[in-house]
C-alpha cells in the first residue's frame, strides 16, 4: 500500500457549520488555492462530497455538484484540467448523503429527491473519472424519527424502497464503470450491524465502504469487521475519533454533535483513538486489499493543519 495512492476527502472543509472565516469557503478562489495546497501536502487524489444544496441560492462557488461546476467552469472536462494543473491527478470517489431530503413526513418526496440527485451525482462521478460512489443508505436515524415518529411501522416499507433505489443506482454505476459502495455510518438506519444484510438484499450489486471511526463509535472492532467482510469491501475510509456512543446518540436528530456533551466526534486522522496503523497493516499485509483508501478529516478545526497531520500520519504508517 503506497500512500501516494491514498486520497484525501475535501470534506475537511467545513461548509455547513458556523465558524469564523467560513464565508471564504463559498468563493471559487478559496478552492482553487486549496487544490494546490492539497497537492503540496502530498495528495494527488481527492474525494469530493456531492451536495445539491449549493445549487440553491446561488452558492455555486462551492464545487460540489454539477450545476456549480458547469456554472464556474463550463463543463466537467475543463474542471478536470484545472485540477490537473493544480496537481490533482484524479477524483477517486464521490460521496452522497440524503439528509437534505429528509425534511417532512412525505417519503415520496424523500425518495423522489434522493433518487433524482443521486442519479445526477452518479453521472457526475462517472464523468469526473471517480472509481467509487459512496452513498449513505439512509438519513440520520433521529432526523427520520423527527418526521416519522412511527418509524418502526414504516421501516419495512422504507427498507424495501431503499433496496429498490440502491439496486437501480448500482446498475447505473456498473454500466458507467463506477462502483457503488454503502457507507456504514453509526447514525444510519442501516448502521454497522445492519449494513451486511442490506448488502445481501442488493444481491452483490454493491459493496461496503468501511469507515474506521464510524465502526469505533458503534463499538465494533474494525479489524474483525474488515476480516469478516473483506470480500464485500469496496472502499476504506481512514477516519479517527475519541467518541464512543454509550447514550444512544446515534438516534438523535443531530448525531454528529452529541447532545448533552459537546465534542468533536471526528478527529484529524492520527489524533484520536482509532488504531489506524493496525487497520492499514491488516489491509496491506494480511488481506492484500487493493481497493481505494481515502483519509477524511471532517470536522477538523483547521483544514490546513489537518492536511499536514494526515500526511505526517501516512508517512509514519509507510515506514
Amino acid at each position: 500500500m503506497k500512500s501516494e495512492n491514498i486520497a484525501i476527502s475535501l470534506d475537511l472543509i467545513n461548509r455547513h457549520y458556523q465558524e469564523p472565516n467560513r464565508n471564504r469557503y463559498e468563493s471559487r478562489y478559496f478552492w482553487e488555492e486549496l487544490y494546490s495546497l492539497v497537492a503540496a501536502s502530498g495528495f494527488s487524489s481527492i474525494e469530493m462530497p456531492y451536495e445539491p444544496v449549493w445549487q440553491f441560492g446561488g452558492r455555486s462557488g462551492v464545487p460540489f455538484n454539477r450545476y456549480c461546476i458547469n456554472t464556474k467552469y463550463g463543463d466537467v472536462a475543463t474542471y478536470r484540467t484545472l485540477l490537473k494543473e493544480r496537481g490533482i491527478d484524479r477524483v477517486s470517489g464521490i460521496t452522497f448523503d440524503s439528509n437534505l431530503f429528509m425534511r417532512n413526513a412525505n417519503l415520496d418526496f424523500y425518495f423522489g429527491a434522493t433518487g433524482h440527485f443521486a442519479r445526477e451525482a452518479l453521472g457526475y462521478a462517472a464523468e469526473i473519472g471517480a472509481s467509487y460512489f459512496a452513498i449513505s443508505p439512509s438519513p440520520f436515524y433521529g432526523r427520520m424519527a423527527q418526521y416519522h415518529p412511527d418509524l418502526q411501522n414504516v421501516m419495512e416499507d422504507f427498507t424495501a424502497r431503499t433496496v429498490k433505489l440502491l439496486s437501480e443506482l448500482a446498475e447505473i454505476a456498473a454500466g458507467s464503470g463506477v462502483e457503488l459502495v454503502l457507507r456504514n455510518e453509526y447514525w444510519s438506519l442501516f448502521g454497522p450491524q445492519k449494513i451486511v444484510s442490506l448488502l445481501e438484499a442488493l444481491d452483490g450489486k454493491a459493496k461496503m465502504d468501511v469507515d474506521s471511526a464510524n465502526l469505533f463509535i458503534a463499538g465494533v472492532s474494525a479489524e474483525a469487521f474488515i476480516k469478516n467482510n473483506i470480500r464485500q469491501i469496496g472502499c476504506v475510509h481512514l477516519t479517527d475519533t475519541n467518541f464512543t456512543d454509550g447514550n444512544n446518540i446515534w438516534k438523535t436528530a443531530n448525531p454528529e454533535f452529541p447532545e448533552g456533551r459537546a465534542t468533536q466526534v471526528f478527529r484529524d486522522p492520527g489524533t484520536g483513538s482509532v488504531n489506524l496503523e493496525s487497520i492499514t497493516t491488516l489491509l496491506r499485509d494480511e488481506l492484500d486489499y487493493r481497493g481505494p483508501i481515502t483519509c477524511s478529516a471532517r470536522q477538523t478545526r483547521d483544514p490546513f493543519r489537518a492536511l499536514t497531520r494526515t500526511r505526517a500520519l501516512l508517512n509514519q504508517l509507510e515506514k
Binding site: 471564504r24 468563493s27 471559487r28 478559496f30 446561488g58
Partner: protein, 307 residues
C-alpha cells in the same frame, strides 16, 4: 419607549448545539474558538448583550433549528429567555411571476406565514421571485403576476397578524426597471416594503429618494452598507453574482461602505418611522465582530439622530 428596535437577520450557518454545558472541556479539546460559535445559547446571548433584541430567521435555518429544538415555539421560547424575540422570517416567492405557478407560490407563502406565527413573529420579508439570470427580463404581465401573488399572500399574512414586506435583491428578476412598478401594482393595505439599503443601492436606487417616495409603505429595513452602488446590468443579471469568485464583498457593516445612513436617519425622524430594523452582515467573516462594530456605529452615529 424607543421608536426603533434592532434585530439581526440570521446569517449564522448551522449552529449544532442548543446549549453547551461542558464549555471548558469542549474548548480544551482543540483549544480553538469553535466552542464560541457552536451553541444557540451563546449566539443569542451575544446578540442580547450587544442590544439586538430581535432575530429574523431564514427558511434555510429551519432544517437545523426544528430538529434541534423540536418546534418554532420552543426555539422562540429559548430565545426569549435570553432576551431575544423572533421578529419574523425571510421568504423567497419562487417563480411567482409564472401564472402556472400561482397556486404553489401562494401555498408556499401561506405556509411560511404559518411558520412565522408559530415563532411569534410579525414580519415576512419576501423576495418577489427568483434571480434575473435565466428568467429576466420579465414582461409587464409577469410583473403583474408577481403582484397578484404578493397580494394574495399579503391578505393571508395580514389576517394572521404578519406584515409581508417586499424585499428586493440586486440580482432578482424584479430589478431596477420594474422594481417600482411591482410596488405600485400591489395593494398598499396588504403588501408593505422592507428596504434592504445595500441591495437597492446596488440595484441603482438612491436610498434617500426611495425612502422619501415610499415611506408610507415601509414596514422595516435590512440595514447594511455597500461600496458598490449602481452595479451595471452585466453584473446584476449574471449567473449567481451574489458570491463573487475572488471574494469581493458587495455588503459591509453599516459605516464601512459609503451609503448615507445619517441622511436616512434624518428622514426616519422626519417621517416618524416606528418599528424594527434588522441589521445584516452578509459576507462577513466574523459575525460577532460585525455585530459589535455595528452597535458602536448605531450608538454613536445614528441613534443620536433618531432613536
Amino acid at each position: 419607549m424607543r421608536n426603533i428596535r434592532y434585530a439581526n437577520m440570521c446569517h449564522w450557518k448551522s449552529i449544532p448545539y442548543r446549549k453547551i454545558d461542558n464549555f471548558r472541556d469542549f474548548y480544551y479539546e482543540d483549544r480553538s474558538n469553535i466552542a464560541y460559535y457552536s451553541d444557540w445559547d451563546n449566539i443569542l446571548k451575544y446578540q442580547s448583550a450587544l442590544g439586538f433584541e430581535g432575530i429574523e430567521v431564514a427558511p434555510w435555518d429551519l432544517a437545523d433549528i426544528l430538529p434541534l429544538f423540536g418546534s418554532p415555539e420552543k426555539f422562540a421560547e429559548f430565545a426569549k429567555e435570553r432576551g431575544v424575540e423572533v421578529i419574523g422570517m425571510f421568504h423567497g416567492a419562487h417563480a411567482s411571476h409564472a401564472a402556472d405557478h400561482f397556486d404553489e407560490a401562494v401555498s408556499a407563502g401561506r405556509e411560511a406565514v404559518d411558520t412565522i406565527v408559530k415563532f411569534g413573529g410579525t414580519y415576512m420579508n419576501t423576495c418577489p421571485t427568483q434571480n434575473y439570470y435565466g428568467v429576466g427580463p420579465l414582461t409587464r404581465d409577469e410583473v403583474r403576476q408577481c403582484a397578484k401573488v404578493m397580494n394574495e399572500i399579503g391578505k393571508y399574512a395580514t389576517d394572521n397578524g404578519v406584515k409581508i414586506g417586499l424585499h428586493n435583491e440586486f440580482f432578482c428578476a424584479i430589478n431596477f426597471d420594474n422594481h417600482r412598478e411591482l410596488i405600485e401594482s400591489t395593494d398598499p393595505n396588504l403588501v408593505h416594503y422592507c428596504v434592504d439599503t445595500a441591495q437597492i443601492a446596488i440595484m441603482g436606487e438612491d436610498i434617500l429618494k426611495f425612502y422619501h417616495d415610499y415611506h408610507d409603505r415601509i414596514s422595516t429595513f435590512h440595514l447594511k452598507d455597500t461600496a458598490s452602488q449602481n452595479l451595471p446590468d452585466a453584473v446584476r443579471y449574471s449567473q449567481d453574482p451574489e458570491i463573487t469568485d475572488d471574494g469581493t464583498r458587495w455588503f459591509w457593516e453599516p459605516g464601512q461602505g459609503n451609503l448615507d445612513f445619517k441622511g436616512l436617519y434624518r428622514l426616519l425622524k422626519q417621517y416618524e418611522f416606528k418599528g424594527w430594523i434588522s441589521v445584516e452582515y452578509d459576507g462577513s467573516p466574523d459575525l460577532l465582530a460585525s455585530m459589535a462594530m455595528t452597535r458602536y456605529f448605531l450608538d454613536n452615529e445614528l441613534r443620536p439622530i433618531y432613536d
